[in-house]
């Protein structure tokens, strides 16, 4: 494809779109599909066809619109409907030229929608992820075009560095710096890898990105490859995400067919190919060195760093590895400029972040919010607070590697630094809300069980330490624990954190440490209850004059 072709394709696609009088968008991501939105999409299409309206009404499947708890969501022109079923299809088609279907209405003016800031997800819910043309109509590959035709790799890296973008995969490493390191690393063969392993319980931001707007991820990877001097990309997706795999595969094929990836992209000397590798569902394979081993066909085990993948990664070559959401941020930064991106957020955390809201909260689903928003605003405004009149207790961010934040700290802002200061982490974006019915020892035990079963087993502190911490948590929760057990648990936390080989072990104690920090009384209550019965037994032993037969 030549540069002009992209523009003409976009213009034509836009004109085609405008030729329709009405648009019906149906969410066809995993969440809504599990509520049969695929059937709904088909039914709506049939309904339009039966009425002979195919020229006038465009019905298409789109990515997630966020409010997953009320899915399937359908957008008919500007009206949003929730909890839509196939039998509602005729009513929705009727409504196009008359009054909205009242009982299905979803208020788009509620804070859930108005307080979000959509940059990464701007096209999610608007484009058909399976249609390259539709994506191009919404601006896909414009940034790649701009980069290849008017920027040097150094300029691209500078732009990303200036934007202040930090990795969205958990650690928040400055993306520009990482790209610069890979660009500088000696070697002619380099790789870019997209980390779509997403193993945190309760997290589905990356799945949504891959299912809802796969071309944006590809475009980000292609730009990164150009910047660092790589020709080959790998997307590592967990096999439990079949729809993401299907859509990414389709996106790659379509992009290939239109020479948006492949040889001499936009007539330049830049070549870029992408292949997909499936993970077999091990949390540790999200860790970059384990992921690389897995791509190489080995057991997915982490290895000591340095060397970092930037210097010696896939097959020993310099390798850039970024998260799905990190790549999805690239195109808007290039299109709108680093300055407009850097304007959003706090001093050290720029742009927006996607969160997956789950747990004891009214609105569960996906949100994209500006960095620096108060946690309180997310919980009470956007997420609508706690259902059933219960009280909020804590929110877990960062999944099993993160920590909980209690009610009296909800005023903190959501950015890398404040979350870390509060004893948690930003992580990849999972937010699990707990209400007053949750016991925090049980919460810690849950996450520890996850780490225990996901530990790869390579290093002793994590392999055995997570088991022992889980065992001690079990004892305490089941009222068999002692203060010594609690002390041992604390000692283990410090030791496992300091001595484990990879991030899984190093962060496994975090949920325990943070629940201890804010809810130690819950541990002590359980221990006191255990001790009461122990004390009875000891008193009995002291006074009793039972004969101690030596042989029995």
């Amino acid at each position: 494809m030549k540069p002009e072709e992209l523009t003409s394709m976009m213009e034509k696609a836009r004109a085609d779109m405008q030729a329709f009088d009405h648009h019906i968008n149906v969410c066809t991501e995993s969440g809504c599909i599990s509520l049969q939105s695929d059937l709904l999409l088909k039914t709506l299409g049939d309904e339009v066809k039966h009425r002979g309206l195919t020229e006038k009404v465009c019905v298409k499947g789109v990515g997630c619109m966020g409010l997953c708890c009320n899915g399937p969501l359908v957008k008919a022109n500007t009206t949003l409907y929730q909890n839509v079923k196939s039998e509602h299809a005729p009513a929705i088609v009727d409504s196009l030229s008359s009054q909205p279907v009242q009982e299905l209405l979803c208020d788009t003016q509620q804070p859930f929608f108005t307080r979000q800031k959509l940059i990464v997800r701007e096209n999610s819910g608007r484009v058909d992820p399976e249609s390259l043309i539709d994506c191009i109509a919404h601006g896909a590959y414009q940034a790649l075009l701009k980069v290849l035709t008017s920027m040097t790799p150094q300029q691209v890296i500078q732009e990303i560095a200036d934007s202040g973008l930090r990795g969205r995969g958990g650690a928040g490493f400055p993306t520009g710096l990482k790209w610069a390191t890979v660009a500088k690393a000696p070697g002619t063969r380099k790789y870019v890898i997209c980390n779509g392993d997403e193993g945190d319980p309760g997290a589905f931001m990356d799945r949504s990105m891959m299912e809802g707007d796969p071309h944006r991820v590809l475009e980000g990877m292609a730009i990164a490859a150009y910047a660092v001097g790589a020709q080959q990309g790998v997307i590592y997706v967990r096999a439990e995400y079949p729809l993401a795999v299907k859509r990414l595969t389709k996106a790659i094929n379509m992009a290939h067919r239109h020479d948006l990836i492949g040889h001499n992209i936009f007539g330049t000397k830049f070549d870029f190919n992408v292949e997909i590798r499936l993970g077999a569902g091990a949390f540790v394979c999200g860790e970059e060195t384990a992921l690389i081993a897995s791509v190489e066909g080995k057991r997915g085990l982490p290895r000591p760093r340095p060397p970092y993948p930037a210097n010696s990664g896939l097959f020993g070559c310099p390798t850039l590895i970024n998260n799905v959401e990190t790549y999805a941020n690239i195109a808007p930064i290039i299109n709108n400029g680093a300055a407009s991106f850097a304007q959003i957020g706090t001093e050290k955390s720029k742009g927006t972040k996607i969160f997956a809201l789950t747990g004891k909260i009214k609105n569960t689903g996906l949100i994209e919010v500006p960095m620096g928003i108060r946690l309180k605003d997310i919980i009470y405004d956007i997420a609508g607070g706690i259902p059933d009149g219960r009280a909020f207790k804590a929110v877990q961010t960062g999944g099993p590697s993160g920590g909980c934040i209690p009610a009296d700290m909800l005023d903190i802002t959501v950015d890398y630094e404040s979350l870390t200061k509060a004893g948690s982490i930003m992580g990849s974006g999972g937010m699990i809300v707990m209400d007053e019915t949750s016991n925090m020892v049980d919460v810690a035990r849950f996450f520890m069980e996850f780490c225990m079963t996901e530990s790869c087993g390579k290093c002793v502190p994590c392999r055995v330490g997570t088991y022992e911490m889980h065992e001690l948590l079990d004892r305490i929760y089941e009222k068999r624990g002692t203060l010594d057990d609690l002390q041992l648990l604390k000692d283990l936390c410090g030791m496992v954190k300091q001595t484990s080989l990879c991030g899984l072990g190093q962060s496994a104690p975090n949920p325990v440490l943070s629940t201890l920090r804010y809810f130690e009384h819950e541990y002590l209550d359980l221990i006191n209850q255990a001790q009461a019965s122990e004390a009875d037994r000891n008193a009995a032993a002291k006074g009793e004059s039972i004969k101690l037969e030596v042989l029995s």
Binding site: S455, C456, R463, V464, Y467
Partner: protein
């Protein structure tokens, strides 16, 4: 030497307040041992690739917030290394205690009693009891091989056997299956060792195994003694030949 990539350039560093010079590319562990500074290890073995799993060789490096595995960290100019702070000693103790708690080590009836690196480590680190709850897993003894025996109760998953089999013998009969504490050494596609098509019965794995997990058949309590000298010679000979 431990590191194959020493380029010969000389650098200086401090280990436990001792001024030391070495060639660039050498690991902290190699340099410490050359200078009679003892850093404990279990998974490391001269002549095999670095694994970095036992975490006993963690040391403090000034300026680095994280502890570094001495076996996997290359010396750099001006580095200041502490190998035995109270914190490191405590961590090492905990690690070895955890190995005892993980599987079933009944030294008194073990064929390696008295000749076991894990046992020696407990003595060296003055471990007189294990603070952690014992796990008591139900594990098997693979008695199917005509020369050797694999007792999973005693295995500490150091993977020395896997590495010697793949890297030195070239058979790659052994590998690891499973995750976390459920991980286990397997033969070929997880079949009884005696049925392995690839095992050459060379016995290298038995000799590099630090514990009573891999032993010769017919050994009774305390009788199994390992010979590990062959490995440095073998690697040295191969290097000079090639």
């Amino acid at each position: 030497m431990t590191s194959a990539v020493s380029s010969g350039e000389s650098i200086t560093l401090k280990i436990d307040d001792k001024d030391i010079s070495c060639r660039s590319g050498e690991t902290i562990l190699a340099v410490a041992r050359e200078n009679n500074i003892d850093i404990p290890t279990l998974c490391f073995m001269e002549g095999l690739s670095v694994w970095g799993g036992c975490r006993l060789c963690l040391v403090e490096v000034a300026g680095s917030p994280k502890l570094q595995a001495a076996c996997a960290t290359v010396c750099t100019e001006g580095m200041n290394v502490v190998t035995a702070s109270p914190r490191l000693k405590e961590y090492r103790k905990m690690i070895v205690e955890m190995l005892f708690a993980e599987r079933n080590h009944v030294c008194s009836v073990c064929v390696s009693n008295g000749h076991c690196e894990l046992q020696d480590m407990a003595v060296k680190l003055e471990i007189d009891h294990v603070r952690f709850p014992y796990r008591y897993p139900h594990l098997q003894v693979d008695n199917s091989h005509d020369r050797a025996r694999m007792d999973h109760n005693r295995c500490i998953l150091c993977t020395r056997c896997v590495r010697v089999c793949a890297e030195i013998e070239g058979a790659h009969t052994k590998d690891v299956k499973g995750r976390g504490v459920l991980a286990a050494i397997i033969h070929d596609l997880d079949q009884p060792w005696g049925e392995s098509e690839t095992c050459t019965s060379c016995g290298k794995c038995v000799n590099v195994c630090p514990t009573g997990a891999l032993t010769h058949r017919g050994t009774a309590v305390g009788e199994m003694q390992k010979k590990t000298d062959f490995l440095p010679y073998l690697t040295l000979m191969r290097r000079t030949e090639s």
